[in-house]
Symmetry: C3
Subunit: 163 residues, 3 copies
């Protein structure tokens, strides 16, 4: 892997580790993350420090991938997908002081290989998505999804399994 930095009008890339053939499109903000070989990142995407994305993934436009997220190889991440790493986010503490990095606990999310995450899906922190699961467009994922399960809705429920 190679570490790239780019401070150009349409890209802010800071310490991004990339494999061969990674392609990053216009208007991307990424820092301290890892993108495996062959992975593509669309426009208006932010990827935070510590996020780890495998090989041959597609990260579509308008998507947010936060610290604490690990995505295995061959995952399709649709447009406008959001991950979460904080169960009870607050801007301030009960005493009114602003929260700092010490005031929250990072929760980890794991997306198995070959998963397909539909457009506008929201994935709560701490869940595990099994290999080749399919998350339907607009689903809000509040708990673990088994391998090859197809889920839809808010909150998402299993509607069937892929063969």
């Amino acid at each position: 892997m190679q570490v790239i930095n780019e401070d150009s009008p349409r890209k802010s890339l800071v310490n991004v580790r990339v494999g061969e053939g990674v392609k990053i499109y216009n208007f991307v903000n990424a820092y301290g993350c890892e993108l495996g070989e062959g992975t593509k990142v669309g426009s208006f995407v932010e990827i935070q420090r510590g996020a780890k994305i495998g090989k041959n993934c597609k990260i579509s436009s308008h998507t947010f991938i936060c610290e604490g997220v690990t995505i295995e190889d061959g995952v399709f991440v649709g447009h406008n997908v959001s991950f979460i790493n904080d169960m009870y986010p607050r801007a301030i503490n009960p005493d009114g002081s602003m929260q700092t990095d010490d005031d929250w606990e990072l929760v980890h999310t794991h997306v198995g290989k070959g998963v397909s995450i539909g457009t506008s899906v929201t994935i709560l922190g701490g869940v595990k998505i099994g290999d080749f699961a399919m998350l339907g467009a607009g689903a809000v994922i509040t708990k673990d999804v088994p391998s090859k399960a197809v889920v839809v809705g808010n909150p998402a429920k299993i509607v069937r399994y892929l063969d």
Copy 2:
């Protein structure tokens, strides 16, 4: 119509066909699409090749319009709206190779004239939205919507018809 190209810090426009009076705001990524006269495009919008948008439409910020989408005249597209053109998106084939343009079938979506698409609406591929229909904020549109129908929810259901 006129074909415009702009490669500036806050706009990447490649072969965009525009009518008179089209206005495109900051941070827009658009290529190979068509925008009818008087149409406005907000910030953080991506419009893909082959998308066709009619006259006097408003495309609000954070919206994604993909290949295969046709939008007729006078349509309001809210903020954070996403279209889809692939029913079963995958990043990789069953053999693990990355999918290419040959591995998926483009599905077409049609939005009739005067339609109002609320904020954060997600529209699955292949649906037809009838003239002057109103899609409520946050709706996930999974099937055709009749003219003048008002739909809300995930999945969206008809709640009434406009006069």
Copy 3:
């Protein structure tokens, strides 16, 4: 407060009133709004004219805050959150002419202090969110939320109250 203007590749700030210590990240489009001291604004955020945001708030990436929105101190606004200020948005009038600012009524939205707005929440125009309420990820807020209520779903419903 200080009025700032910045026309740089990754920021378009026009007449933004900011308090001490405000931090604005990459790819932000903001104009005519107010940000109280200590507030942070993430990437791919648009904040419109007349929006007023208090002190020590966090506005996360991909969020849209429109005219008519007032956010009190210490509010956490998650990623991909959208506000609305128009109940029946249309691009055109019944006679086919394009709508102008005279053709719609601005509705006001109020977010109380210490509120936590989860990722991908959509808030309809005209609602009031009580102090320290918590809006769960993916919720579509269609009516007022009482103080300290926790709401989830589309449409959002109260599931419990915080102590």
